[in-house]
């Protein structure tokens, strides 16, 4: 019983971080119907951003997460302007290819400079007791940061002027333009926000897991599973989806070899697509 609880807490803490990674993917899909295939490499960049800010410049990791977030926002806006905007109205294949190209460029340059060997952020805050189990403090803080980011995003979208513009563009881009909202700028900013979420999740993961430039790929796949669980285009659903996936990852190793985890995740993925394609918590069609 104790072991189950411990695994569950472990998994749920990780689930929050998965949740905001998925939020980035699903936000971009919701606003502009683009599947961002560079999502994984952007998570990797978040990891390395944290690594270099900490080991290179000696900046505290959690301050480095904030800087990483800002860099992610800016990078996302640049990627949108260069690679996505010109094909925003083209069929899905074009946006898939464009974001996949961005992915290959980042991975190509990243591999050339950083190789594919693992990196590790030498940072440890010891352990802390959560309920009955002891978890690394970095994981608990990552979960709290992820929660704050998710909550902040929700409040931003719901109540700020810019957030309302994003929802208006999501709802009806042409109508948004007609009432006076500069839709191209809103799309660029939304892509920036999605990239920012990917970078934050990467940065947080780097505080407790080793990583390579290719590591983001695995989290991108998780983001897809979570996005479908929570409903693509529904950022809040992503957080719950992340928790479900985290719980699975925590509990599966108790019953069977860890290698079965992705199998179960993707079985779930296919089942949801078959039975409830709008996700457990509803999303945009």
């Amino acid at each position: 019983m104790d072991a189950i609880l411990r695994s569950l807490i472990d998994g749920l803490l990780l689930g929050f971080v998965y949740g905001i990674a998925a939020m980035g993917l699903t936000l971009i899909w919701g606003v502009m119907n683009v599947i961002n295939l560079s999502h994984g490499s952007l998570i990797s960049l978040g990891m390395f951003s944290l690594y270099f800010l900490f080991t290179g410049l000696g900046i505290h990791p959690y301050l480095a997460v904030v800087i990483t977030a800002i860099l992610g926002l800016l990078l996302g806006i640049v990627i949108y302007a260069i690679a996505v905007h010109r094909i925003i109205n083209a069929p899905h294949l074009s946006t898939l290819l464009a974001t996949y190209s961005v992915n290959m460029i980042i991975l190509g340059i990243g591999t050339a400079i950083l190789s594919t060997s693992p990196y590790n952020v030498p940072f440890d805050l010891g352990s802390i007791k959560v309920a009955t189990s002891v978890v690394p403090t970095t994981r608990l803080i990552a979960a709290i940061v992820a929660m704050l980011v998710a909550g902040g995003l929700y409040l931003f979208l719901q109540y700020s002027r810019l957030g309302r513009y994003i929802r208006a563009v999501t709802d009806n881009r042409e109508a948004a333009e007609i009432v006076g909202i500069p839709s191209a700028q809103i799309l660029a900013f939304s892509f920036g926000l999605g990239t920012m979420l990917a970078a934050i999740s990467g940065g947080l993961i780097a505080t407790f897991f080793p990583f390579t430039i290719l590591a983001g790929g695995a989290y991108e796949l998780k983001s897809f599973v979570i996005g479908v669980l929570g409903g693509l285009g529904n950022p809040v659903g992503s957080l719950f989806g992340g928790l479900i996936l985290g719980a699975i990852e925590g509990l599966v190793p108790l019953a069977m070899p860890t290698t079965w985890t992705p199998v179960l995740e993707f079985v779930l993925f296919v089942l949801i697509l078959l039975v409830r394609p709008t996700g457990l918590f509803g999303g945009s069609e």
Binding site: R164, A168, D171, N172, A175, E177, I181
Partner: protein, 236 residues
Amino acid sequence: MAILELRDVTSGYGEVQILWGVTLALQDGSMTSLVGANGAGKTTLLRTIMGVNRPWQGQIIFEGEDVSKLPPHAKAARGLVLVPEGRQLFSHMTVLENLAMGATPKRSRAEYNRNLELVFEMFPRLKDRQNQKAGTMSGGEQQMLAVARGLMASPKVLMIDELSLGLAPFLVLQLFESLKKLRETGITVLLVEQNVRMALAVTDYAYVLAEGRVEIQGPSREVAHNPDVQKAYLGL
């Protein structure tokens, strides 16, 4: 003085040309109707003026300035406002949020409270439903919201595409009355309307569009007595 002027504007979709050189002018503070058969290019003309469709050739002059190449949001910011056909609301947002989005142009924000009062007075129904999602309302209520959203922008020129579509006749009358009142506040109105008789009765000037060209124009009263118009659009 003309607040909005079109000079020989052509436009269309892809390879298909719809407008073949439209020239027209809206006098400041006037009400103008644009009538014509289905497919004559009325909606395309409004979309081209707004910039949703790019004009291929010709000029669109707003307040003496060439705005032909401006995107829609920049035109809305200047006070050129479109109530689009098919309503085009933000269906997942509430009535109040839709109205707030209508007040996006900076020049309308200071007048937000006054405009809100005005549209709630015009459409008490919207006041009752302000927290309801726009997509869950009836067609008539959505049409009211579309017009109200346009008014929230403090428009200088308000272009309305198919005002009466989906509305009960008594509501249409009420809307036309409200529009007349608006004219007194100095708003210039361009009305696309399938109810030709009513459109000609309330407006000052009228353009009849046929196959993407202005076929007949003149003071609305004269246009209403034009034998061709009577035969084609008024069933006389």
